[in-house]
Symmetry: C2
């Protein structure tokens, strides 16, 4: 050991002691995201070993499921480990750091296809590079666009079957630019036809194309800021608010949340965003808490565009795996993003240098009181009396918003007193608009892949597929997936000719659980085959789909090979800690060899096992003028609803809260 | 004219003068429901002419559409007419009463199949008849059920292909009874196997069947009243409320409601319940109000059960046409059925004697503030600044609840600032439970047509199909129905192999507009082919479906012949004032010869015409134990969303209300 290393180690030791004293790490829940001091230690440990590391991902390397399930807040904490993805030179490293021993457990080089999350720093650097590139400056001058009013974005390039070309051996993005000028709505003002290809590792422009001269759409009517709007205005609504004079009914202890009969853990990940873990509901009759979910989170978000022009064909984004939905989280605005009765929670990500960055107001948690009715009945059938019983619905919402470039995704998890968990997503923000010389539909005689929204602006068609990882543990770990098909049947010996009956089938292997919605009436259940109600029904949760959409790409098309996990709305796999990301661990420029569709080819057994349901929620979006210059929210979602989980209606005895 | 008649006419005249002076009828909107005094005059006029009339329906006979559309509040009111359905002896009369001239315009005898709405009075009388019927009393004694604890319900019998039997020539119901005893939840305690068939016109029992001895389920655990619940209780939530210190932002003038940029008329009908008419949205940019809907209401609600046992096979209810969803409206409970900021509106129905009955708190109208986001964006793409703009969503809800026997239907119409109209229905209340001797699933080796919910209680499987009549007038009367099919297409000369394009097809005739959901990705639009945006897109509204379900009965089965209007989720017909009721005008014991499916066989032209969209929202319900003894609400709905109706996002300039 050299002297330098020894003194370095001493300083590290001092730092650790310091951090330990000021950081109550011993009180952490084993699923808590890494704290800022832990993130800082990760950085120190990794950069001590490898000084030139670029940090692309740092997250909790969570303990194994049995460790988590057997952990008790009073007992010892399992070791804290971090999972780190770095780039050094042209190599991707997967590093596991033990934060309990302050050591590197493993350092593995990723040898397969695909690259990690892009960092913000390199996207900013790529944009800066282009803005100072003389041919680009010339292109702007030619267009009479002032360079001070230009900003650029980095677009992942996908993969189109290349075997060994520049694109497959280099980590590149295409940089496209916008003229904001007199508006903040840069996405409505694309500088179409000018593309720079940037090698991110070299931070160098490797290709530059000025292909088309297209009018830059004008700024007029694109700005969405309240401060710049001009009359005529519509009527302004009178003040409205939700009040809870005695405060909220939930408690937040670190990342653990309790509300009504629910308790769960709210984690955060740079890539997935919110992670709901260990969601259990207290069964009032059985006087015990019963687990519903081990873990639920967004696994991938595939956004293929349907525009085949040179500047657009490659746009088939994977927002979770390429840009990071957690990394794209934005600060929520009190009173606007969340009602007055909301509480907020911060999150932490790391920059490219590994330093922790505080994301303030990443989550809000609030009780939703929307005027809905939990249950009711008016009974007029008993002589001489009318019985009326009504309970209002109050639910708990956990919200995060990710602004992945132009699009804002409002990601809600809603917990209901009835035992339902509802996942919702709202899509708002800005369209990706393609510049065009057209100014009226009558001029258009060719396929333009979208709708003319304003002069010189085509709103390009695209899809959004949100794939959720749902590790249900319905009243225990071993579960089965059951399809209750409702089947039209002949009625024999009856004045009726037909009725529907239920034909129940338990999926024994992965292939039996792949389902596309729209192919008949089927109830989908996750049951615990080892537990029955007193009446003898299997305890279960039902999955009630919302908006239904599947891919409209051919299965041999490259984007669809990479997004093959969207081929079914439902997949069920046996639990496997390594299978987190439906699009694969390294999605940028991936070849689709590490997707859910590939894993599932093993056709593993899934009956009476720890299973994971993968649910894909889809939107086809053919833009309309109402989406210009900013889209009103469009929502979708699904519900996990108890089905013979309880012996009877779990909200029968709910006491109505007071209304002040 | 005899002297008696003259004096009668003089008294009538005096009555009318009196009513006229105290009733500001001259201020009525031509679509306002009949006022109590108008209803009373209808009764007087009809019973003067036909003293023995039983009133089964009285409603506004609305002026023709051109009259309504050309009417201005400042101009003269069109004549007020009433449409009346009575039974006299064994004959159904359709009577049109002119309330302006106090005369009968027409009196037509209905010669076809089917009977009108049941009255409450005759249902109560039928129940009373059975309770005093000695064989029934004996059946109860045999079962050791105390007759004082028994109450009965009237079940419509449908039609099963009979040509000329007792059932087809008589207006009958089957009466089934329940033992409430120590609970108010009579529906959980059926006295299975005992059925009386009652001729309603004769008010006589014509058949009595005591077929089975089945245990009456016990009262334990069935009562849902707050006052009788016993511990353990769950946690009680803290007080929560919506406040509007300056009052609501809507105004109600009679039945006309204005809120934000919306104005519409809220009518009421004994059969349909709420009727939304003349819904227009003010276009801030165009500085004018533009019509979206001429009229929207529930047209039929078909509830076929899937239980083939003798006491159940015939249960295929048509709740709008047989029981009346308006007639089944219940008083809404302030603070529970509707939030604190709600306003209430009464409605009026008539009893069998034609006398008006005041239904208090039939509607509530409130601003919904659910914590949703109308639109947002955070922009980090402009150097050295972060832009964040967020608008919270506030919408307007009109609510009515109909308790059709056991089931409570929460019928909501929601108006959004974005221009969307959302129809929602919540299903709660009580299941129809079949009595059984089974007490555990393990005992069951046969088809029991449902789920064992509790000892001796089978929750029978059934469907709910709600068919809405949607007379859209998108920016004018002449509209077209367009299917924008999203089609998977080959990409030629591109690194991509595929993409989706939009193939647009306008339905020229009724048959081209019949659509079942689930058969591909299609956007459904009602457009005005005569109006375009400045960009050249047709102005339109899109129909976004919610829960998808279609019938699982064979098309030649009798209930399905009567409910044939559910065969497609969408039908489009040319406007025809007589085509209001998808199941036909006389649904009770109908033979299905007057349904939407029959009318549409003419395959009329629907392009660039005044068209009506019929939308069927479906639920398949296989009950689970959580539905016992009372069901948590299950919701569904659909959205009408502006699509190139506006030149741009209509809520861009919305000013956020204050939050106190």
């Amino acid at each position: 050991m050299t002297e330098t290393k020894t003194s370095q180690n001493v300083s590290l030791l001092l730092l650790f002691i310091l951090l330990y004293c000021f950081n109550p790490a011993h009180q952490l829940h084993p699923l808590d995201p890494l704290t800022p001091s832990e993130l800082d230690r990760v950085r120190t440990i990794v950069t001590t070993s490898k000084p030139n590391s670029s940090f692309h991902y740092v997250g909790l390397d969570e303990p194994d499921k049995p460790t988590i399930l057997s952990w008790a807040p009073t007992g010892p904490s399992p070791p804290r480990w971090a999972f780190v993805v770095t780039r050094i030179g042209h190599v991707t490293h997967e590093i596991v750091v033990d934060l309990t021993n302050n050591s590197i457990v493993s350092d593995r080089i990723h040898g397969g296809q695909g690259y990690p999350l892009l960092t913000f720093d390199e996207q900013v650097a790529a944009s800066g590079l282009v803005l100072k590139y003389p041919p680009f400056e010339a292109a702007m001058r030619w267009r009479q666009v002032r360079i001070e009013e230009v900003t650029c974005g980095s677009f992942t390039v996908g993969w189109y079957g290349q075997r060994s070309t520049v694109l497959t051996s280099r980590r590149v993005v295409k940089v496209m630019c916008y003229c904001f000028g007199d508006t903040v709505n840069l996405y409505m003002r694309p500088i179409e036809g000018v593309t720079a290809t940037v090698d991110l590792d070299e931070m160098a422009i490797i290709e530059f194309l000025d292909r088309l001269l297209i009018a830059v759409p004008k700024a007029d009517g694109t700005d969405y800021r309240e401060s710049v709007q001009k009359p005529p205005f519509g009527p302004r609504l009178k003040p409205i608010s939700v009040v809870q004079p005695e405060g909220p009914s939930f408690t937040i202890d670190g990342h653990s949340i309790k509300w009504a009969t629910w308790d769960f853990h709210l984690g955060f990940d740079m890539r997935a965003g919110p992670i709901i873990s260990l969601a259990s509901i207290y069964d009032i009759e059985k006087q015990k808490s019963r687990r519903v979910l081990y873990k639920a989170s967004l696994s991938e978000l595939f956004v293929p565009y349907m525009d085949l022009t040179e500047e657009w064909y490659y746009r088939t984004f994977f927002d979770v795996g390429e840009y990071g939905v957690g990394l794209s989280a934005v600060a929520l605005e009190p009173l606007r993003d969340c009602p007055k009765n909301a509480k907020f929670m911060d999150a932490f990500v790391v920059g490219q240098d590994g330093r922790p960055i505080n994301y303030s107001n990443t989550f809000c948690i609030f009780e939703r009181f929307a005027g809905d009715i939990l249950w009711r009945h008016t009974e007029a059938g008993i002589p001489n009396r009318v019985v009326r019983e009504v309970r209002s619905e109050v639910s708990l919402v956990v919200r995060m918003v990710a602004a992945v470039g132009n699009y804002d995704y409002i990601i809600d998890w809603e917990f209901k007193q009835s035992g339902s968990i509802v996942a919702k997503v709202g899509l708002t923000g800005l369209l990706e608009v393609r510049g065009t010389n057209y100014t009226h539909m009558d001029q258009i005689k060719e396929e333009v892949y979208g709708t003319l929204l304003a002069e010189n602006s085509i709103g390009s068609r695209h899809d959004h597929f949100l794939t959720y990882h749902l590790d249900l543990d319905v009243d225990g770990v071993a579960n089965s997936f059951v399809k209750n098909k409702l089947v039209k049947s002949k009625a024999i010996g009856s004045p009726r000719k037909s009725y529907w009956k239920v034909v129940s089938k338990t999926a024994k292997t992965e292939s039996e659980a792949m389902i596309n919605f729209g192919s008949g009436a089927t109830e989908l259940l996750v049951i615990n085959p080892n537990k029955k109600t007193k009446m003898g029904n299997h305890v279960g949760y039902r999955l009630i789909p919302g908006l239904v959409a599947g891919p409209l790409l051919s299965t041999d098309d490259y984007p669809q090979i990479r997004g093959a996990f969207t081929e079914y709305n439902i997949w069920v796999t046996p639990y496997n800690k390594s299978e987190k990301w439906a699009g694969g661990s390294y999605v940028d420029e991936s070849h689709g060899d590490d997707t859910l569709a590939i894993w599932s080819k093993r056709n593993r057994k899934i009956e009476n096992k720890d299973i994971v349901v993968w649910y894909t929620l889809g939107f086809h979006h053919a833009p309309c003028q109402e989406d210009f210059p900013l889209m009103p929210t469009l929502s979708g979602g699904f519900e996990l609803r108890p089905t013979n989980f309880f012996e009877s209606n779990p909200v029968l005895k709910i006491k109505q809260p007071d209304f002040n």
